[in-house]
């Protein structure tokens, strides 16, 4: 029965999306015939002054300098502040879930990102590099990219998110494995005064933000912002913890309900000061989440089970442009991270803690040489003076782990963009990273960007990327069950990609891509039956083959649409079996419909995910989630209001989770939830 039902769901949703695709293409034809001014927006009707205010679409993350998206040596997706408003995105996870080929998993503690069919439950988002204005967000203990409510920046402060797919280690080093996600912050003058925002939603969720932005004429631009958030969470039911269930876990109780355990709250602040070529920025967040899932064998229905993550940094950057177009950037920073976990075992509190601080500097020079070359060279140096991990029971006091480490790393990189001909750009880049923990690694990337015909761009890419073993994987130990492994080596990935992007004019763009990757030395937690101990080992490999298609169409009325489909087959080459949590099909549709021009919009999102295998060998059902946001703005943009419904049709669906949550194998996600948001500018 289940088989037939999910086959039907696939067929229905697939045909639904096909119809959507066909309708969009049809409407593209109909609308372009009707309009006298066929561009996405008729620029010719604007005055010169208005034209001078418009920005051309460019990207900075693919080559670490500003360039046109079509010329970037990577397939890039950009999500703007407008998208965030119109689709009611609450977290970076909501934003990334709309990106072609990306999917998330939520275990009611953290949000995890899967890219190109790879999203092993238990992994810590270590295979994407997350940046804020070029500053690395991945911490120095878990190398984790925080994308949920623990992300350091309030999404309202985001100007745009640049997602550069593919290997980025040739420019960025470790963790730029599957993608580099660079979050660019809003400019002080875009806030232009005091901005007050308040949100309220289901599950007792409230958020308040106060921001101030002012741009001096020749003086400094200042941006200050503070946010507070709290959510009571849901009262969750787990059959495995229901005492009425004959197969229930021994910790079962309270009828299988976890009360007051799904809470989520954070406080964050951000400041940016810019004058001339100098920029000083600082960010901080402290976020606490209750763990309702009795993970790691802890007590069930115990609100005392929680994790607190604190992350902060200060970043000082100076950029100078020379005549001839050369640009020099110097940067220095100080970062810190702290994780505190409280875990209750039969009433005994176990404290798990990690503290890290690190600082460093980098230098980067981009310049044009001999007419045809655009070169970037750079060097980075970082000292991680504290990378400490601790685990102890409070009472009776037993210390299981008290590990103190420090390390240093440095790197040097270079990339040349060669204009071989007016229609052929060749990129060749390489980076060498040396880390005191494992030694050195060299990672190259080569790409050809060709314009075979007017409006069409072909990109061929090969890149090698790596992920350094984290301090957690190397040194976390609680003998005799958990052993460390200081000899771990980095994971490596080889990726080949072929991308074709076409601009049809009239606001219609499409792209198609194929990729293949091969990962070796995959760091996996392995269990040794003889000793009964677990440790991390460079043991496994993974391979994947994928195809992605995307169509975007924008209309002069302000309507906008994006439809994508991704097929990926990620397998373990030893067994040929699909990896856990690797959906074969992902389809996404985003639509902005202007209801009252310039004033009132509807943002509709539809996301389909095919079945995924869990750690226990089960399969979660396929599902399609619909989100709807109604967004309105008052005259002169003084007031903005939105009403969002997430999971409009209250679809029941589950995400696979790691073995740490046993006996839970997959966790049901939220049903229909609402959010009202109001922003006022003084």
């Amino acid at each position: 029965m289940e088989m037939k039902r999910y086959q039907q769901t696939i067929r229905r949703t697939a045909s639904c999306l096909l119809i959507a695709c066909a309708t969009i293409m049809l409407m593209a034809g109909v609308l372009s015939a009707e309009e006298t001014a066929p561009e996405g927006r008729d620029l010719k009707k604007l005055s010169i002054e208005e034209l001078m205010e418009i920005e051309v679409q460019t990207v900075v993350s693919a080559s670490r300098y500003r360039q046109k998206v079509s010329e970037a040596p990577a397939s890039v997706t950009i999500i703007t502040a407008r998208d965030i408003q119109k689709f009611g995105y609450r977290t970076l996870a909501d934003i990334l879930r709309s990106v072609r080929g990306f999917y998330t998993t939520y275990d009611r503690n953290y949000q995890y990102l899967g890219v190109r069919g790879f999203g092993r439950p238990g992994d810590n988002n270590t295979r994407i590099l997350l940046l804020v204005d070029g500053h690395r967000v991945n911490d120095a203990i878990y190398d984790s990219a925080a994308i949920g409510t623990e992300f350091v920046l309030d999404v309202d402060l985001i100007e745009r998110v640049e997602v550069s797919r593919g290997p980025g280690s040739s420019l960025y080093g470790s963790n730029a494995f599957f993608a580099v996600v660079n979050v660019i912050t809003r400019r002080a003058k875009d806030i232009g005064g005091i901005e007050l925002s308040a949100e309220g939603g289901s599950q007792g969720t409230y958020k308040g933000r106060l921001s101030y932005g002012a741009a001096g004429k020749n003086g400094p631009d200042v941006l200050l912002s503070a946010t507070g958030f709290t959510s009571a969470g849901d009262r969750l039911y787990f059959p495995a913890y229901d005492p009425g269930n004959p197969l229930a876990d021994p910790r079962a109780g309270n009828g299988g309900y976890a009360d007051n355990s799904d809470y989520d709250r954070f406080g964050s602040a951000y400041a940016k000061y810019e004058v001339g070529g100098l920029q000083l920025a600082g960010a901080y967040i402290e976020r606490t989440k209750g763990i309702p899932t009795a993970s790691y064998g802890t007590d069930f229905n115990e609100p005392g089970n929680r994790t607190t993550d604190s992350r902060g940094y200060v970043d000082l950057q100076y950029s100078s442009r020379f005549t001839g177009g050369a640009e020099l950037t110097l940067r220095t920073y100080y970062d810190w991270y702290r994780y505190d976990g409280d875990y209750l075992y039969a009433g005994t509190v176990n404290k798990d803690r990690a503290v890290a601080s690190w600082y460093g500097g980098d230098i980067r020079l981009t310049t044009r040489l001999l007419n045809a070359h655009h070169v970037i060279i750079g060097s980075e140096y970082e000292v991680r003076d504290r990378q400490n991990q601790y685990n102890a029971d409070v009472s009776p006091p037993v210390v299981y782990l008290d590990d103190h480490r420090s390390s240093t790393k440095w790197a040097v990189y270079a990339q040349d963009e060669i204009a071989v001909s007016p229609i052929f750009l060749l990129y060749a880049g390489i980076r060498y990273d040396k880390t005191s923990t494992f030694g050195g690694t060299t990672n190259p990337r080569i790409a050809a960007v060709i314009k075979p015909i007017e409006n069409g761009t072909l990109k061929l890419l090969y890149g090698k990327a790596f992920r350094a073993p984290t301090v957690y994987e190397l040194y976390y130990a609680a003998p005799p069950q958990v052993l460390n492994n200081p000899t771990l080596q980095p994971e490596q990935i080889d990726t080949y990609e072929l991308v074709y992007e076409h601009d049809f004019g009239n606001g219609l763009r499409a792209s198609a891509s194929r990729y293949r990757y091969s990962i070796r030395n995959l760091i996996t937690q392995t269990y040794e039956p003889s000793s009964g101990a677990t440790s991390f080992r460079n043991q496994e490999r993974a391979e994947a083959d994928g195809t992605e298609l995307e169509v975007q169409k924008s209309w002069s009325s302000g309507a906008d649409s994006r439809l994508s489909y991704a097929y990926q087959k990620a397998v373990d080459p030893k067994t040929g079996e699909l990896l856990t949590n690797a959906p074969k099909h992902l389809a996404k549709l985003n639509l902005v419909v202007p209801i009252i021009k310039e004033r009132f919009f509807a943002g509709i999102e539809e996301q389909y995910t095919s079945p995924r295998t869990t750690v226990a060998g089960q399969k979660t059902e396929s599902f399609a989630v619909t989100n709807l946001t109604l967004f309105g703005r008052g005259p002169q943009r003084r007031v903005e209001a939105s009403f969002s419904i997430y999971n409009v049709f209250n679809k029941k669906y589950a995400d696979p989770v790691s073995g740490d949550l046993a006996p839970l194998d997959s966790i049901q996600q939220d049903g229909r939830t609402f959010r009202v948001k109001l922003t006022y500018v003084f």
Partner: protein, 185 residues
């Protein structure tokens, strides 16, 4: 669910008029879409000598060299500016340029720019470019990108030699003007 979905899709069949520039809710335009719009606007601020004005009611915009996405300029074809109809042509030889009213010079013309400008002599052809240094070398209006926005510089000297009158409004909006600016208009 399919029906609701289709209903929502068909709901926005409103072609409507054009978006206000201040709202950037449509995706940022491609570079050449924007530059073509600038060219369209420049024409409005330039006066050709009276002899030229009597020559017919088509205003020829010619493109010389490999212009990335020349299709963006195609969009100007058939548009009306100041009572004249625009027509866009791709040139093969600079000699053909004398019959144009507007000449866009691509980056590929760098090597032979002086030669092309010499061929034009003092003919009333508005030269436009988007390559570094073009205005200094004699191109009348040269566009460039600054902080992702299009800006332009003007060579008032060559414009005057060709008897083309560039309105003060355009001169004021330019980032840089080469050659003496005539006093008022």
């Amino acid at each position: 669910m399919v029906m609701v979905f289709l209903a929502m899709l068909l709901a926005f069949q409103v072609p409507g008029e054009n978006g206000h520039a201040a709202d950037r809710n449509a995706s940022a335009p491609a570079e050449y879409q924007l530059k073509a719009a600038f060219v369209y606007n420049f024409i409005k601020f330039v006066e050709w000598p009276s002899a030229e004005r009597l020559a017919g009611d088509t205003l020829r915009i010619c493109l010389l060299g490999e212009v990335p996405t020349a299709a963006s300029f195609d969009d100007l074809n058939g548009q009306e500016v100041l009572g004249r109809r625009l027509s866009v042509t791709m040139l093969k030889l600079p000699q053909e340029a004398r019959s144009c009213q507007v000449l866009f010079l691509a980056a590929t013309q760098t090597a032979r720019l002086t030669e092309v400008l010499a061929i034009l002599g003092g003919a009333p052809v508005l030269t436009i470019g988007d390559t570094e240094g073009y205005a200094k070398r004699g191109v009348m209006i040269n566009m460039f990108l600054e902080n992702k926005r299009v800006r332009f510089e003007i060579n008032a000297e060559t414009a005057r030699s060709a008897e083309l009158r560039i309105s003060t409004k355009l001169l004021k909006l330019a980032s840089r003007v080469y050659g003496a600016v005539p006093g008022g208009e």
